[in-house]
């Protein structure tokens, strides 16, 4: 199966054939693009049909010979694998620790009900946190690299407990031969100097929640007392960036129906000095005023194209930055096993509530039908993990012929459930946007390689 796409950079069109099963990417001229679409039964537009009809027989024969050569070597129209894939539900490698169900902000789109996950305000005790670390180590099997992610609510409201858990994990990790790394996500409001220094020294990755321009941010992210806190948050985030150096971090924002011109927010974050940026589409029920709707998808795709052009341009200057969803490693990407495992939610990755209850991921915390067990007693409902283990792109009907299937990891099970009623269902908007971002990633990688190869 092949996928064709094109991307226009500064008026110059680039055409691509992408072989889904082998992962081969080919840049082609327009004639080969049309011929390939025609040969592989892909739809051509009216003008494309006319252009195809105008190609002479000799040129068509040349193109066919090149296509045949690629097919013969297995880098075009490679066969689909047979069989199923079952994720490993016997090991745990990563935990998302809900260090507190409380927050010092009130964001309009918060999926966590203002930080409490529609339950009650609760703070994880150091004892529960240590039990979580013990659970992680005990169930990690032979895996050496393990992860603990501090999430919330707002984790900095319980920083002392974070510190105790980290110290304990370091000691236990050394005792058991495990390399445990930590990530913390924060809204930056309480990211004072002391907290910043601690995070910088102890977190392998830090995620700073910031939506972009002041107007964008203030429209949806609020202090509990409604005061304007944007300048405080930005200062804290910028100061952290200054001490972070080359260590891993992201500024992570959300775009909504209120800022479909989100490329402007991304560039604004870059202008503030951030060079590791991620902006994601909000996921909300259709009834929510900020929800992204089907009729906005084409506009969003155009905005991603605008982002891509500015991205390529800035990366040639001292405004270089990395955009999370345009990253792609064409040479050393993840193995097939990883591609089919996806995020690992419910199997190798689980979330821990403040009281130590285990759920497939942060999106399911508090949902009793997805209760897996707790960190003290262990796995109580293994059948929940088995449900997640059985879901992969090889078995999902929507994924079988999708060009993104070996890149998306199968998508978000929580989104699939919330929008289709099934864990193995589909969140269509998410799929459409992911496919667009993936095409742009491939095009950007190609264009940047071309620019690199050009004599200076």
């Amino acid at each position: 199966m092949i996928h064709t796409f094109s991307y226009k950079y500064k008026g110059t069109p680039f055409y691509f054939l992408w072989d889904i099963e082998s992962g081969s990417l080919h840049n082609v001229d327009y004639a080969a693009f049309l011929r390939a679409k025609n040969c592989f039964g892909l739809e051509l537009s009216g003008p494309e049909k006319e252009d195809l009809a105008a190609i002479g027989p000799k040129e068509l024969a040349d193109i066919d010979a090149e296509l045949d050569a690629l097919i013969a070597e297995g880098s075009l129209d490679a066969p689909k694998p047979k069989g199923e894939f079952r994720k490993n539900a016997s090991l745990v490698k990563a935990l998302c620790l809900h260090i507190c169900h409380d927050c010092n902000m009130r964001c309009d789109y918060c999926f966590a009900g203002g930080g409490t996950y529609h339950t009650q305000t609760e703070y994880m005790s150091a004892e529960v946190g240590k039990q979580a670390i013990d659970f992680l180590i005990k169930n990690s099997g032979g895996r050496r690299n393990l992860e603990a992610d501090f999430f919330g609510g707002e984790p900095l409201l319980n920083l002392d407990t974070v510190k105790e858990i980290v110290e304990y994990a370091k000691i236990r990790g050394e005792e058991e031969g495990k390399n445990i790394t930590f990530t913390l996500t924060t809204n930056c409001l309480a990211l004072n100097k002391e907290a910043a220094v601690y995070l910088n020294e102890n977190m392998e990755n830090v995620v700073l929640s910031l939506d972009g321009r002041k107007a964008t941010h203030n429209a949806v992210r609020h202090a509990k007392n409604d005061k304007d806190i944007y300048d405080i948050i930005v200062k804290n985030a910028v100061d952290f960036r200054k001490i972070r150096g080359g260590k891993r971090y992201y500024v992570r924002g959300t775009f909504t129906a209120a800022n479909l011109d989100f490329a402007g927010d991304i560039f604004a974050l870059n202008d503030l000095g951030f060079d590791q940026i991620s902006i994601e589409p909000v996921v909300l029920p259709d009834s929510h005023p900020l929800a992204i709707r089907e009729e906005q998808v084409e506009e969003i795709k155009k905005e991603y194209e605008r982002l891509a052009e500015g991205y390529i341009d800035r990366r040639k200057t001292d405004k270089w930055f990395n955009f999370f969803h345009f990253m792609i490693d064409l040479e050393h990407g993840p193995c097939v096993n990883k591609r089919l495992t996806g995020c690992g939610a419910g199997t190798e990755y689980m979330a821990v509530s403040p009281t130590g209850d285990l759920y497939p991921c942060h999106q399911f915390v508090g949902e009793k039908d997805y209760y897996i067990g707790n960190v003290k007693e262990g796995i109580i409902n293994p059948e929940v993990r088995e449900r997640f283990a059985s879901i992969s792109v090889l078995g999902k009907e929507y994924c079988s012929d999708c060009p993104a299937k070996y890149y998306c990891g199968g998508g978000c099970a929580a989104n699939a459930k919330n929008f289709s009623g099934r864990l193995d269902g589909q969140y269509k908007i998410g799929c459409e946007l992911l496919k667009k971002r993936l095409e742009l990633s491939l095009a950007i990688a190609y264009i940047e390689a071309l620019n690199e190869a050009r004599p200076q």
Binding site: F16, L17, S22, G23, S24, L25, N27, A31, E66, L67, L70, G74, K93, A94, C96, F111, R144, N145, E147, D149, T181, T183, V207, G246, R248, Y250, Q276, E280, V283, W320, N322, F324, H325, I328, D329, L330, E331, H332, G333, P334, C335, V336, N337, K338, R339, G342, G344, A345, E348, Y349, H362, Y407, C408, G409, A414, G430, L434, S441, L442, A449
Partner: protein, 57 residues
């Protein structure tokens, strides 16, 4: 070839250590709802695709 230039070939069938599970869980990074795996590298290759190429050398 005159009409087709291969950018990358058969990356899904390359022979490298597979299924070791030592790579970072994708949700540990920036996403939380738009997790992908295609934007990661194999941990055994020790590449960091999020930094400038020249800074890796």
């Amino acid at each position: 070839m005159r009409h087709i230039a291969t950018v990358v070939k058969k990356i899904l069938v390359k022979d490298h250590k597979t299924g070791c599970g030592e790579c970072v869980a994708s949700c540990q990074s920036a996403c939380k709802t738009s997790c992908t795996v295609g934007n990661q590298s194999c941990v055994n290759k020790d590449e960091r695709i999020n930094i400038k190429v020249k800074d890796q050398k």
